[in-house]
């Protein structure tokens, strides 16, 4: 995308005023998306986003500027703006010598989406529409979306780092509306992977659509969710968002440094039930949060955050690791070249426990079984978090019974982690997610085995 000698000159120019560090992050992304709604392919969209962000760090201050002009004058202008913004004093000439990193490609892309005819992409939507609608006469509306992108990323910095990476993403989503005597209900399914079109050799798109339809139809006979505190069982492969919110964000080093996390100062301490081992791993082949290098050019890796309930480490980006004089963990990420990097999760999941999932339900006399979770959010300082349930059932006498209407669950992170009293041996990864933080969204993955929280507040209306 940009020649090495150009990068070296731009970086040297950026630190000429005496700054500690400068970085160029450049990306070139081509994307295709298609949407079907109300029986029609409404539109196919092609997009091109290309540009570079230049970051200059002087002491505790970061200056940042971006440009869509990748020529040497364009990059130099952005570097000058970032350097001015960082307002460094001092001076002196530094040369920058970049050493390309060995390639790190956790994903093997067989069918680049650019090489696939748009008609084949659109056809997937038609198939999902037909499958959802033919699942039952209750289905009155279906919307489906397809998206792919190929993003080339280049990172170079004054520490000599030079990496390039290519991230391919393929995404499919479908939502169905069912109508009945009790009003309308919705069902939703999605799948996303960091590989190409070959994903559809193994993913059954009709099944995805039928699943969304089934969910919506099931909820037509749902009763209001209960109100109050009770045991909650969460099905495997859907509850990763619980850990993402209950502790993931709280383990990001930027929150730790500012004393804005309930987990600050707790490394080495028991912060969760001994059943819980929590991992953030940016190298899992094909998963939604997988990258070769993070957005600061640091190779992604597998980081154990909680082991047998004991907090082992936080997640780190360049700035926070530098401040603590320790290595980065491959968690520096950004939404695009227009954004500053910060500490973010990749694929965050809990490892298998000892329990048979069937036993988890049968040993619960009364509670709620959550088959599908929606989104969530957390206040890292207080630890209070919420997450939505979009498919849930009552558990009565150890059996899953009636479906429940949508609602939120609310809990406090450290309390909920301690209250996990059963953990299944049926680990599964969940649906692709977009994690929002400080106005930036990045793709993340999550996963977990079936588990039980012995006490969680369910926000329904039924006493």
């Amino acid at each position: 995308m940009i020649e090495r000698d150009v990068l070296e000159r731009v970086l040297a120019g950026a630190v000429r005023g005496g700054a500690d560090f400068a970085e160029v992050y450049a990306e070139d992304k081509r994307s295709t998306s298609a949407g079907l709604d109300d029986g029609r392919v409404e539109q196919v969209t092609s997009g091109r986003d290309r540009g570079a962000g230049v970051r200059v760090v002087a002491g505790e201050t970061t200056g940042f500027a971006y440009t869509s002009d990748l020529s040497e004058p364009g990059l130099a202008a952005a570097a000058a703006a970032a350097a001015t913004a960082a307002k460094q004093g001092g001076g002196g000439v530094r040369t920058v010598a970049l050493t390309p990193s060995a390639p790190h490609r956790p994903n093997t892309v067989q069918q680049d989406p650019d090489t696939i005819a748009k008609a084949m992409k659109v056809e997937l939507l038609q198939r999902m529409n037909d499958a959802a609608r033919s699942h039952g006469p209750e289905i009155v509306q279906v919307s489906a979306g397809y998206g792919d992108s190929r993003k080339q990323v280049l990172v170079a910095n004054t520490d000599g780092v030079l990496t390039d990476d290519e991230v391919v993403r393929t995404l499919l989503r479908v939502s169905a509306v069912a109508d009945g005597d009790t009003g309308m209900q919705t069902g939703y399914q999605s799948m996303g992977h960091t590989i190409g079109f070959e994903v559809f050799d193994t993913v059954d798109v009709e099944e995805l659509a039928r699943e969304a339809a089934r969910q919506a139809i099931t909820k037509l006979r749902a009763r209001p969710a209960p109100s109050g505190t009770m045991p909650v069982v969460i099905e495997h492969g859907t509850g990763g968002v619980l850990f993402h919110e209950a502790c993931g964000h709280g383990l990001e080093a930027d929150h730790i440094h500012k004393g804005a996390s309930v987990y600050a100062g707790k490394v080495g301490q028991q912060v969760a039930s001994p059943l819980v081992t929590l991992v953030d791993d940016g190298t899992m082949p094909g998963e939604w949060g997988t990258l070769g290098f993070d957005d600061e050019g640091h190779v992604t890796q597998r980081n154990v955050l909680i082991e047998d309930g004991v907090l082992t480490d936080y997640m780190w980006d360049y700035l926070r690791a530098r401040k603590d004089g320790r290595p980065q963990s491959g968690n520096g990420r950004r939404q695009s070249y227009q954004h500053l990097p910060m500490v973010r999760m990749t694929n965050t999941f809990v490892l298998d426990g000892p329990d048979d999932p069937a036993d988890i339900v049968s040993s619960t006399p009364h509670g709620v079984y959550v088959a599908k979770l929606g989104g969530g959010s957390v206040n890292t300082a207080s630890g209070d978090f919420v997450f939505g349930m979009t498919e849930a059932y009552l558990i009565e006498n150890g059996e899953i019974t009636e479906p429940l209407r949508d609602g939120n669950l609310i809990g406090n992170g450290p309390k909920v982690l301690a209250d996990i009293d059963m953990l299944g041996d049926d680990f599964a990864m969940g649906s692709p997610g977009t994690c929002g933080k400080d106005g930036q969204g990045v793709p993340v993955g999550d996963g977990q085995p079936t588990l039980r929280v012995k006490s969680l507040t369910v926000g329904g209306t039924s006493s």
């Binding site: 079907l36 709604d37 109300d38 029986g39 392919v41 409404e42 539109q43 196919v44 969209t45 092609s46 997009g47 986003d49 290309r50 540009g51 002491g59 201050t61 970061t62 200056g63 940042f64 500027a65 440009t67 869509s68 703006a81 970032a82 307002k87 748009k118 008609a119 009155v140 509306q141 509306v177 309308m184 919705t186 969710a225 109100s227 109050g228 500012k258 804005a260 227009q338 500053l340 929606g374 989104g375 969530g376 959010s377 300082a381 207080s382 978090f385 919420v386 997450f387 939505g388 949508d406 609602g407 939120n408 669950l409 609310i410 809990g411 507040t457 369910v458 926000g459 329904g460 209306t461």
Partner: protein, 454 residues
């Protein structure tokens, strides 16, 4: 956008001139810049200064639509975008209603959306504003720390042109300061931290009220210290203005003409019926200069206008862009939304507000025997289903007993359905606050809501 002949208009015009016979072509061109300063402990933590630009082109041919965009205005890239949009047309399904907006003769209400003072405001003064705010918020209560203090501004200009005769350009700018706070209390296992935020927005920094922003950030963080989880019960809730604005944002999605024509609105067959308490008159009025999202024109280049959606509890109309209006057999209400050059217009309320009542929040609370003053809602995106109407969100606030506020509570949810909540509105406060959102806020009293706790 405020009417202003932008040089971008020529870029849009040149694309439209290339339309082939039978083609409808629309070009939307935008350029903008932003400054963002974050201050922490008296130093600049980061300073962002950047410019961006781009173009989106929509082509409709024989009822099929194609779209493409690029984040650059280079001539060769624009040609590529037009070619891609044309190529994409063939994959769309024929839609008899697909067409671009046409000028409808509704006059534009001019707005003052460009402020020269902000455009010339010195950079060092912007940094000072963030530093001042940090100082104000950290100096008033020993329990309170500042997480970050920010100054941000943005300016943008855009132009749209189409083969159907739309030709409009404009520009606007705006700025805000904000501060996030942390309040600590207790030691060891009893240690507790709560968070708060405060902000002030303006067309120029001269309009900022830093004292109020700092005071609110301190109040929000400290008022929940010592909060506990109360037992579940049904009660009356009084929503703070900020929370009401969020609630109205959810309500607005049910009044969206696109959701109506596609059968996804729970109010789709209810025009002319009573859907809310008689106290509820809901108006979308982007021509009101007090609204943060005030605008002259909508995302398709039609004049923005005042629309009464619910009048005395009776549903009067939905909001539409030209496509949803055509399908519904009506005309656009000037409610096309556009998120930027990378997307095609959607439908949405632009500046929503309830017609305010007359009484203050204190007076409203004085009439509540058993209730909850909701100061925070969490998880509106995850626990509210605007299609079914199920409503459940995390909440925090103060209990109300016999007309006075008492103990703080946290880790509760409040739940009902959107349908019931609109009918259960007991009073609309007079304390209207034009917040930096698409909805204004005021205190709102809703009865018979379930609070879930221990």
């Amino acid at each position: 956008m405020s009417a202003f002949e932008s040089e971008l208009q020529a870029v849009a015009d040149r694309v439209v001139e290339q339309a082939r016979p039978g083609e409808q072509v629309e070009a939307f061109v935008a350029r903008g810049g932003e400054t963002e300063v974050r201050v922490y402990q008296g130093d600049v933590e980061h300073f962002v200064s950047a410019q961006s630009e781009g173009i989106g082109i929509r082509v409709i041919h024989e009822g099929r639509t194609g779209f493409a965009y690029a984040g650059t205005l280079e001539e060769s890239a624009i040609a590529e975008v037009l070619a891609e949009a044309r190529d994409n047309v063939q994959f769309g399904t024929v839609d008899e209603w697909a067409a671009l907006a046409e000028p409808d003769g509704v006059p534009v209400t001019e707005q003052e959306l460009w402020n020269e003072r902000l455009a010339e405001y010195p950079t060092d003064d912007k940094i000072d504003l963030a530093k001042q705010l940090e100082k104000l918020a950290s100096g008033t209560d020993p329990r309170v720390r500042v997480d970050d203090a920010n100054y941000a501004d943005a300016h943008g200009e855009s132009a749209v042109a189409s083969t159907t005769g739309i030709r409009m350009s404009g520009r606007e700018n705006g700025c805000y300061v904000s501060v996030s706070t942390l309040a600590d209390e207790g030691e060891g296992d009893d240690a507790e931290t709560q968070t708060g935020f405060g902000f002030s927005v303006g067309r120029s920094p001269d309009e900022f009220d830093l004292d109020r922003a700092a005071r609110e950030a301190v109040d929000r963080a400290t008022r929940l210290l010592g909060a506990t989880q109360p037992p579940s019960k049904r009660l009356t809730v009084v929503l703070d203005p900020f929370v009401t604005a969020q609630f109205l944002g959810v309500v607005s999605s049910t009044l969206n003409g696109e959701a109506v024509v596609k059968g996804r609105s729970l109010f789709r067959d209810r025009v002319g019926e009573e859907v809310a308490s008689p106290l509820v008159t809901l108006v979308d009025d982007p021509t009101n200069p007090l609204a943060y999202t005030a605008t002259d024109v909508d995302g398709e280049g039609l004049a923005a206008r005042r629309n009464v959606l619910i009048d005395g509890g009776v549903l009067r109309q939905f909001v539409h862009n030209s496509y949803s209006a055509r399908r519904a057999g009506t005309v656009s209400t000037g409610n096309a939304t556009r998120g930027g050059f990378a997307g095609t217009p959607g439908v949405g309320c632009l500046a929503l507000s309830l017609v305010p009542g007359t009484r203050s929040q204190e007076e409203l609370i004085a009439d509540v025997d058993d209730g909850l003053l909701v100061q925070q809602m969490q998880g509106l995106h995850s626990g509210v289903n605007p299609v079914s109407g199920d409503f459940s969100t995390g909440a925090a606030g103060l209990l109300i007993e016999n007309g006075t506020v008492g103990a703080p509570v946290r880790e509760v949810t409040i739940a009902s359905t959107l349908q019931r909540m609109l009918l259960d509105i007991v009073e609309v406060g007079g304390d209207i606050d034009w917040l930096p959102m698409r909805s204004a806020g005021m205190s709102l009293v809703i009865r018979d809501v379930t609070m879930s706790g221990s």
